[in-house]
Point group: C2
Chain length 415, copies 2
Amino acid sequence: MSRIIMKFGGTSVADLKRIKIVAERVKNEVDLGNEVAVVVSAMAGTTDQLVKWVENASPNGASPNSASKDHDKEYDSVVAAGEQITSGLLALTLQNMGVEARSWLGWQVCFKTDGLHSSARIENIDTAKMDAALKAGTVCVMAGFQGVSEEGRITTLGRGGSDTSAVALAAALEADRCDIYTDVEGVYTTDPRIVPAAQKLEKITYEEMLEMASLGAKVLQTRSVAMAMNHKVRVQVLSSFTNKPGTMVVDEDEIVENKVVSGIAYANNEARLTITGVENTPGVASNVFSLLAEGNINVDMIIQNRSLDGKETDITFTVPELDLDKAQKILEEAEHISFRDLFTNKNVVKISVIGVGMRSHAGVAANMFKTLADKGINIQVISTSEIKISVLVDSAYTELAVRSLHTAFGLDAVE
Amino acid sequence: MSRIIMKFGGTSVADLKRIKIVAERVKNEVDLGNEVAVVVSAMAGTTDQLVKWVENASPNGASPNSASKDHDKEYDSVVAAGEQITSGLLALTLQNMGVEARSWLGWQVCFKTDGLHSSARIENIDTAKMDAALKAGTVCVMAGFQGVSEEGRITTLGRGGSDTSAVALAAALEADRCDIYTDVEGVYTTDPRIVPAAQKLEKITYEEMLEMASLGAKVLQTRSVAMAMNHKVRVQVLSSFTNKPGTMVVDEDEIVENKVVSGIAYANNEARLTITGVENTPGVASNVFSLLAEGNINVDMIIQNRSLDGKETDITFTVPELDLDKAQKILEEAEHISFRDLFTNKNVVKISVIGVGMRSHAGVAANMFKTLADKGINIQVISTSEIKISVLVDSAYTELAVRSLHTAFGLDAVE
């Protein structure tokens, strides 16, 4: 007997017919003798509708990042209704199939979060009651994405937060496995839409998954992977539309032999900024990035060129494409930063090769750069971590770059 | 400065445009220096949608009267989401107009109810926090219709329960007035669609309103009127679409001189059953009505004819039209009740004249029966209380009966 958390996203519970299919999957696990807790998102489209209503009701404070805490508290209370509905409907569907089930809302499990409404962080989960219910054989259907603050108001964990709810619940309930059902069959060596020879990975390490998630392979929410890693939660990513096993996200020591490179990721939602003629003295770069941080802009890749004369320098960096205009405005209006020109470019893509095996294998960067050079692809910016190398290239080369690297690192499926 | 509860039903908050209008009404009361708590229903249509989902998810236990408590707990959790959404949206709209506001859910105010899910009764309201918020000048927007059980599950008060939420909140917060906004301008002497000369009443007593409400004048939920009477809450019924004063529902001593008859009500959602050839011994009628009560069927008017031979009798009574088939089935399948024939008739209407003045005036019944006789309307069943006389007649005579009685009791407006 195992204790399993199953998480279903918005498309998996989009209507009553799909909820029925989900209920059957849950019943299968119950019939196998497992204790099952389920975490559900809102029906696909519901959250968008609720967010739209909130924005229309409150055009002055529409952004979830609004300074107005009062606004965000109401935002959370309205939007959390979506998961409340699906959790009840799934519990009912299960009951109707003869499976003991009940729904749980964030405040009912004491899913305690901080007070950072609309993007709250989980602090503590009091699972005593749910634990008892599971032991008594009841399927516990938890409304994902939501918690409760110290003050007793409903909080939400930010978009995609149901993955995090599931992993947090798995950690708190000491579950044997956390199955994240989604619309893909698992984690692939790269996007199968670009590389038909992409292979589903049987296992991937937390670290690799973390890089994959944050680099644009939209399978799991980054926060949930970090949480799984910290609490050693065994996560499985699998499809809610097929019955195939998915990809297990596990600790490195569970993987007997690592490939050097596990996957190729790409992210085309970044934009590049370059400022030229910046004074080359200590503190200038710090000024630039402090200002952007104050503006809540996440800077990703950074490169600073040493200038020939030693007096001036160029700084190039990337920001989320959505924040490009804001970043440009901040720099142009900054009084204590002077530069000659500011260039921007949205037609860029970040391509990354990822693999924990890199730690013990030299030559990955060389192989990557040579592969791209052979195809005539110019590298604009490079950034590296222990287990990944990312390059920024012209977005026109996205497919070519991903395919070439996939082949070069031996990831293509053998027919 | 007064403390006012304002309640808005589903049509008043049907969309964001109407919610804006509601917010403006609320702001007006705030600008007058009043402390304001608002109770809202779900957007018109939302509750129906949610109930439909619940029924489809759980065809085996669809009825809110289902024996399955588990089902009803989920029903409540799903359906309560509707009011959760409107309370947040109205709070946001108010904030956006510069009015301090926050939403409150049933469990956040400790709107404690019993565990009778889907038709729970309020036991206790812990208003300390809301009281403090009102004193601090915050508009409190309460999600109507919902509470929380001892067990910590969401409960609902039954359809139309938001009226009851509002009156209960008014009592607990010791409000000076509870304004129930609806789609009519107040309580009329009768249905203006039938009698154009019907007049809006400036005041009506709780007792009269109670009869009006339970007899089919669908203005206020019966339970809410009973609660207002018990707690002496001054209730005003008024339109959310005009700015006219409505009808005050008050204690009898606030009304200087009572008219003998205040209004004529009719209810065409009843059906008549007659069983003939019933053994005329003690306990037979009791058997019949015990069985129906066990089947959760509300019997309204009852008449028992003495038979000529003293051995057999006929019993005639009315039940809600919706329960007619069920009632018939119960009687036909009952083993210890024997009768010769069972007749049913859905084409009946109950017409009532209501007025606290009746207590001190004789002749109301005589006047009523003569008026109907003069028009050739046959009375099938009669029932009376201290302040009302009801008759059951063929539904074809509805308009004629109501109009004639309205004129006969001097209720027509003088042009």
